[in-house]
């Protein structure tokens, strides 16, 4: 969620110590040397380039002024201890980037670890420790961490050790920098801040039995006043605390942006602000109704804006009302398209165009346009796999009691008997069943039922085909009477692999595996059409 960096990116000056080591292609030895030289460099713990004023920070984050002021208040002036903070708010509301930029403004050292990158407790622990002791994993140390640390108790010990050392050095450093102002950027105060981002993910780690309490308790366990803890999460604090007896961190809420905020954010950094704002006039409102997530909106708008600008030659013009209307009418069809789906697959870029053209000539029907809903199946399946897919679909859709009447020629009488019964029972039961079917989704079925339906279907289909193309018969080889039936299980496994059929849990009564078809009706109909099977006849509808 570090999206709103904008202008500061360009102004950032590269730091001396690492930039020289990294920007040129140097060998490992040299790097380790430079590492050794600046090994105590505490500046590694500072974020970003040169610090800037509060005004710049506020200007960079329109619509977030109260949150920034609140944060500043809690962090306090330098060298004041603080209570842990819990920052939360929906995704893409600027939590991470504001915190980071705030620390850049304050010039205070921080240790940042995202629980997405550090996907297990061990990696989280080691990442924190590595940063604290300026350790880099590379080929010389076999990509190992500074310390092997798996247990929470080890982590607390190592962490305390590292933090105490660091704070000591920070204090020394402060005295030094006061006397001699060698460095352009000096660390302000002797506080160290630990930031844990994306904390909501920790809940999924081994049921979070030990890690979450540890992190929330860290402040009181360490009991070092020079350490500040900041948690960032996209879910509210209620989803974490479970009355474990620790002090609740100070919550700071980042609400979703309002429409005006979004406009301000989006217009910033645009090359043609006038044109862009007229573009926003047209599109922002309808899209805001769908989502206020800045990342989604900016992705959509960036491609929509290209469409918007297409008829224009000079992008620097200030559009008048007439032109605005014209552009809007141009854009209208695209808006509805983007409103419906935000995920679009682009086809090959210009370089592959010749090939696609060639293909188009041959295939003619298949257009690259992504919203061309064609009736044809555009991938290959063997015929028996198709029939198997259809029968799985039927088995999932239809109640098992109906199989006899649908597929058996003698089933008619059976069906009549059964039909009489529900007429006597209450109607409510039927409705309840219907509802249940809706909520349950596709039903599961045992293998035997699938095979039975498959055999019925294929025999029907063969009759059907036989009537239609008599001439084709001479192409059939003798001994092909049941050509579709062999290696059905192989086909079934490949259907499972393709995620069309899901192996459900085993039935507790029978102990055999049950399957469930998860194909959409559209796809099933397409498949049925490709083998000319009258699927609609067999699907049970109320």
């Amino acid at each position: 969620m570090g999206e709103d960096e904008g202008p500061s990116v360009t102004r950032r000056t590269t730091r001396s110590s690492f930039a020289t080591a990294n920007s040129t292609k140097n060998d490992v030895v040299e790097r380790t040397k430079s590492n050794n030289i600046c090994s105590p460099s505490l500046n590694d713990l500072l974020y970003g380039g040169a610090p800037f004023d509060l005004d710049v920070l506020l200007a960079n984050f329109p619509g977030r002024h109260p949150q920034i002021h609140e944060l500043l208040q809690i962090l306090g002036p330098s060298n004041t201890p603080m209570l842990p903070i819990f920052v939360y708010g929906g995704p893409s509301t600027g939590k991470t980037s504001i915190i980071l930029q705030l620390f850049r403004h304050l010039n205070r050292p921080l240790v940042y670890s995202s629980c997405r990158t550090c996907y297990s407790p061990r990696i989280l622990f080691e990442s924190v420790l590595n940063q604290l002791s300026h350790h880099r994993k590379d080929a010389t140390n076999g990509y190992s961490s500074v310390k092997r640390c798996e247990k929470p108790s080890d982590f607390v010990n190592f962490l305390r050790e590292a933090l105490v050392g660091l704070v000591k050095r920070l204090k020394e450093n402060m005295g030094k920098s006061k006397s001699s102002k060698k460095r352009e950027r000096s660390i302000d105060g002797h506080m160290v801040y630990l930031i844990f981002d994306k904390l909501e993910l920790v809940r999924d780690w081994d049921k979070s039995s030990s890690i979450l309490p540890l992190l929330f308790n860290l402040d009181s366990i360490l009991n070092i006043p020079e350490v500040g803890l900041i948690f960032i999460s996209s879910t509210p604090p209620d989803t974490f605390y479970s009355s474990m007896g620790y002090i609740e961190p100070v919550p700071i809420y980042f609400p979703n942006y309002s429409e005006d905020d979004l406009r301000q954010i989006l217009v910033r950094n645009q090359a043609y602000p006038k044109l862009y704002s007229s573009f926003l006039d047209a599109v922002l409102r309808p899209f805001c109704r769908i989502t206020r997530r800045l990342d989604i909106l900016s992705a959509i708008f960036s491609s929509l804006f290209v469409e918007y600008c297409k008829p224009l030659n000079d992008l620097a013009i200030v559009p008048n009302e007439d032109l605005k209307r014209k552009l809007f009418s141009n854009l209208q069809p695209h808006i509805s398209l983007f409103l419906n789906e935000t995920f679009r697959v682009l086809s090959q870029s210009s370089s592959g165009a010749e090939r696609t053209k060639e293909r188009e000539l041959r295939g003619s029907k298949r257009k690259i346009g992504m919203h061309e809903e064609s009736d044809e199946l555009d991938f290959h399946m063997s015929t028996s796999a198709k029939y198997l897919l259809i029968s799985a679909f039927l088995a999932s859709r239809n109640p098992a009691t109906l199989d006899a009447s649908l597929f058996d020629s003698r089933g008619g009488s059976d069906g009549r008997k059964k039909r009489r019964k529900p007429s006597e029972t209450a109607k409510g039961q039927k409705e309840a069943e219907e509802e249940e079917l809706l909520t349950k989704g596709p039903g599961s079925f045992p293998l035997e039922r699938l095979l039975a339906i498959f055999q019925c279907i294929t025999s029907v289909a063969e009759d059907f085909l036989g009537e239609e193309v008599q001439e084709e018969d001479s192409l059939e080889v003798e001994g092909q009477n049941g050509p579709l039936m062999s290696d059905v299980l192989l086909q079934l496994s490949s259907l499972c692999n393709a995620n069309f059929i899901v192996k459900g849990g085993t039935c507790p009564l029978e102990g055999s595996t049950r399957y469930r078809s998860v194909v959409s009706e559209d796809l099933a109909l397409k498949v049925a059409k490709s083998v000319k099977f009258p699927l609609a006849k067999y699907v049970y509808r109320r």
């Binding site: 999206e3 086809s347 090939r355 001479s474 692999n497």
Partner: protein
Amino acid sequence: MMKTAAAAASVPSRGEPSSDQENGDNSLQPFFILHKAASDKSDRKPSRRRIPSSPASPNKPGKSGDDDSSGDHSHEHLRMEAFQHAWSDIETTIKGVLQSIDSGTFEAIYSWIIESFSIIRTHVSSGLSEIAQAFPAAVDSVSRRLFTGLVLTKNMELFDDLRTFEQLGQFLRSHGCHVANLSSMEFVAKNGIGGCITSLLRQFLATSVDAPDMITLSSWYNDQVNNDTPIILIIDDLERCCGSVLSDFILLLSEWVMKIPVILIIGVATTPDRLRSIIQCEALQCLCPFKFNLGTVAERMDAVVEAILLKQTPGFFISHKVAVFMRNHFVNHGGTLSSFIRALKIACVQHFSMENFSFMLRGLIEEEIQGSKHGLLLKAIYNCASNISPCERNKMDEEAVQKLVAEIAQLKRLHFLWSIVVLCLYEAGKCDELRLLDLLCEALDPEFYASRVPGSFTQETRYTKASSPNDCFTHQHKFTMRKDGFISQAMRKVRDLSESHLLSLLKRWERHTADISEIHEKVKELQHMLKFENYQQVKKDSMEIAKIRGLQSKSNLGRDMKRVNDKASSFLAYLIEKYMQPIECVPSHEIVCFKNVKKLQMALVGDSRRRIQVDLLESHKILSCSCCRNDNILLSSMHDTSIMYSSCQEHGDLINLHDWYQSFKRIFLCPNSKRRHKLKQSPVSKKRKFVDDSEKLSEVVIQSRFCRGVTELQITGLLRMQSKRRPDFVQRVAFGL
């Protein structure tokens, strides 16, 4: 009779060792396991003697006695050598064809990678120092998107494409990218995201890392000398991946994309829409997808068939029935090109091992390569003959060899003509999405040919020679075509083609027919006609426009166009009638043509359960003992399981265990009565016999044998054990063969 059965079983298994190199072929055959004994050394002799000599061969190898084994041995050796030679030829052709199909897409993917990499780099150039740190690179969300190439394989079966993705990886590596191939096995819920990172690091770092994380990867990437190339991750199968793990992985990568320029390539077997159902919405937002199409299976199939069965020399060919079987197998079951190629290989092995003169084919192929006339072939035949034995050589008379050589030359010529006609038809049908294999099946049909040509081939040629040279364009074809046939479809297409398409079609025809001057001339003539007509049309048009009679001219144009189309179509008919002679209608085609569908079917489909049942019911045929030859009568000397299976045939789907056991016991205790009556006896007689016969076998022994039999039947999948509800019944699973 029995010997042939045993020999038939031994043939495919003899071919097996050669195909061992391919891993896939090993797991083919449950059938081989059952018949392993047949390929034993001692069993080989009968099979050798059995090899049929081709009817058209001029000299029958009349061998006898001691000559037999030594001569035949070298024969076999030569045959296998010839097979290996031929197959390696075919294999390299296939490889080349497939590579040329994919190469276009590969190039497109590479240029897209370069493009996206430069986009990533423009975002990242400002903050190089941050790369080494743990802080997230602060950039806007648009540049944090992950460039993703969706490679649509368009085949539900993945097997063919595993190789393609591997080749893609090699291709990109050769262009300097860092490539890692991740399979769907790495995206399983059990290992979580750690599994894929571990595999990633293992591929890049070539060492195992204690705690795998992205920081390690970024540090490795920065240490690389060539860290101005992208890192490509190829995930070959989207559908099999666990959705949540893949989403986590994508989110993780998108956090790092500024520091490590990662570009994803994901293989999608079905449709790109599946992405939406597999990957979580949030991860989907991080993707910036582009799609690429690989060649479809049908396209690949066409290309392979064209290269092997049409364009290659007839070192090996398949008959109509075999072609139809292979097509049906592909359409109904196989679905992959690999299975088709495997079928072709099996056919090839069987042909070479069964056909007496197959060793000559090597000479045939070599001759084609070196481009000389009959010299090499003749030499090859002599060479082989000299290898056989000196006395054999004398028997081989000059005349017969010459005749054979001439016949083979004729075969080659006719086949070449046939393939040209088929190619022309295929070109015509291409725009109608006609599949070459379908066309091939129809073109190979000897019945179709017989219906077309009432007289012999020689008569035909004489007749056409007598007729005027331009006759072919007004040719009225006398043969009756199937209405839905693919040939007629292609011809109809020619009639309906628009002018520009017709012109390009004629150009392609010209290319194909370049070697046969007589057809080539005609094609040129057609082209001229078309151009002339155009020219005239233009002239007419300009005149008529002046007269403002546009309407009429349009209809005129249509009519004239039709005339050329008709000519082209009837020319095609003429070609079909004159040149398209299926290989089975050419004398001595047996040498190159594989015809035995049954064998291929056995080898491919296996049908193991049927085989088990047949073997159980007719165990004496396999055991070939002298004691139990009697048909339909169960004797105590038979194998236990066989007795039990035969006796359970009388039951329905439920078998009463007690009854079954009783009948089993009866067979042992009263063998004499069986001869007179059948299985079902009156209880009275049974009792009498029971008293009469001495109890050779104790009850316990019979019971244990019975139990073992039931277990064996259950293991073979013919029975299901009793349920708790009905403890005294077992259920039959297999009915009929």
